[in-house]
Symmetry: C2
Subunit: 330 residues, 2 copies
DNA sequence: TTGTAGGCGTTATCAA
DNA sequence: TTGATAACGCCTACAA
């Protein structure tokens, strides 16, 4: 791989001049510029980003550290992030922590040590003291969950409101014995559970259950099974994310129950397939595209101006009512 | 961020000694080592990977460049890759090309320029001349599709055989007017189409259709619509990947057709949700876990020994028969 | 066992 | 407008 030195030699100029051409500086004579460009083309020279980054202490790569690549919410956000970054000439590398604080620390450190411009993060649960990478000057935008540290940019949806809307929808359609399954990690599950309870309380009702569950399909299936085998079964289940919805669905299928006749089902996050079920599943969709684009905007802002006070963006979810929560007895 | 220099200063030694401690070399006296380690801890020093990589010309990060983050096949593979790499002390960064050759070239170049140890790639379609990053000494393992360049490690499944098995399953269950939708990008769709045609031919049948389609949900839906609105409708549809299956499903739902009564449906790739439909969808599952782990193994091998002749690993898919292809008229 | 010094490929400063 | 040259942070001969 040719270096700037060889380009300089071939063009008969100094490395400084090549560097100037590369940086598109104005103070290079047209003929010299042409010679250098010819040499670059001839050698197939490409700037070494490692060296560049070492020298300039920055890069135009940004990191996206997600807690679960298999959660469609994150892949949708990733798509949006990638698009928005690409438009601005930034590249995105994505890492998967699988909700493992150790991996999160590792990848955050990797990002810092690789000199990325900044990181968009959906935090894993925090075990013990904060990993040292946190806040070490690395521009950081936290999405989906409350930032575990103060002073960071943050993008979330109004989870209480969203969960309350989803629950109110069920109540309005005549369901009364409602159970809720919420992610046990981070602020999100907590808030959604809060909105769920609040909506029930407004109607003077108690929940059949309001459980914290590992945000995984298997866990959702297990807890749903326990609920649905009770003597008096819930007539509706609300799930805190699409993996839990999947899990509940697995159990509902296994038990041979009908939706919504035996039990209604509603969850968070729109996926590609929930509308294809019969009946289709009612969801509270998060605006993944806006989340991704806003994350990039906040990050760019922070990279440009590290000292500005952190923003907190709260978006709204959208209720998409479908057959799985059709009015009771209709 | 403290550098090795400051550590050396605080510990009262030279940078070389610090470097030795970092590299766990044996020729450092215990007391000096202790002093250095104390200084490292005190300053919160972390080695700068950029500098290290510039110097040593390698790193323990590997790149995973996929053609579509939203395709569950790739996220499943990504999980497996991450696990296998993590066990070996490697980190994985993932990039999404969205089937865009330009983005692929960009990310491949990024990987090269960032000095990653190697890359696992599912190639986008190749437009025009090969991007310069290809083969420039960067260890590369190609998955899912045939390598567009000779001399590269390659992991695929036996697509002809798999498609033939899926088609034979339909034939065995009494379907005769079978249409196929196959991804228009890369070798995979081609081979699957070949196996599809072969199976039909063995039974002395012609396909109702055997179309190449952009491997996207919308494209699948469009082509399926055209097929299903024909005067004489196919009695079964085979899809070349899960996004196409989704698309076909969208159309089937929109047209109010029943599965498998009006039309049977089968596709490639197991996803989390296809078993949850009623009827559940028959699929030809690829061993994503084996693919991911094998990719890491091949890559590690090539990193260690760049000169060995390339391997080509051909795995088998597994037919998972479900209700969507139940015997005709049963 | 420890230190000195050169260089990995860039960019930026300072002279010329 | 151009060229020497000194860093960026690290590793590794080589010397002590």
């Amino acid at each position: 791989m040719p270096s700037i030195k060889q380009v300089a030699a071939t063009a008969g100029v100094s490395t400084a001049t090549v560097s100037r051409v590369l940086a598109n500086k104005s103070n290079v004579s047209p003929e010299v510029r042409a010679r250098v460009e010819a040499a670059i083309a001839e050698l197939g020279y490409r700037p070494n980003l490692v060296a560049r980054s070492l020298r300039s202490q920055r890069s135009n790569t940004i990191g996206l550290v997600v807690s679960d690549v298999r959660n469609p919410f994150f892949t949708e956000v990733a798509r949006a992030v990638e698009d928005a970054a690409y438009e601005r000439g930034f590249r995105v590398v994505m890492c998967n922590t699988d909700e493992d604080p150790e991996k999160e620390a590792l990848y955050l450190a990797l990002m810092r040590d690789e000199n990325v411009a900044g990181v968009i993060l959906s935090p894993a649960p925090q075990a013990g003291p904060r990993p040292s990478a946190w806040g070490h000057g690395l521009p950081l935008v936290v999405i989906d969950r409350e930032a575990p540290l103060p002073g960071l940019d943050n993008i979330v949806i109004d989870n209480r409101k969203a969960a309350a809307a989803l629950t109110a929808h069920l109540l309005q359609n005549g369901y009364r014995r409602i159970a809720g399954l919420f992610g046990a990690i981070g602020s999100t599950g907590e808030e959604r559970r809060g909105g769920f309870l609040q909506a029930l309380q407004t109607h003077g009702l108690d929940p059949v259950a309001a459980e914290y569950v590992a945000p995984r399909r298997a866990a959702g299936a297990d807890v749903a099974r326990e609920l649905l085998l009770r003597e008096v079964r819930p007539d509706a289940i609300v799930c805190g994310n699409s993996l839990l919805t999947e899990g509940a669905l697995v159990t509902i299928r296994e038990l041979g129950l009908r939706i919504p006749g035996d039990v209604a089902l509603a969850g968070f996050d729109e996926t590609s397939w929930q509308a294809l079920l019969e009946p289709a599943i009612t969801v509270l969709a998060q605006p993944t595209d806006v989340i991704g684009r806003t994350a990039i905007e906040l990050l760019m802002g922070r990279v440009a101006e590290p000292a500005v006070p952190p923003s907190r963006v709260v978006l709204d979810g959208a209720l998409i009512a479908r057959g799985s929560t059709a009015p009771r007895g209709s």
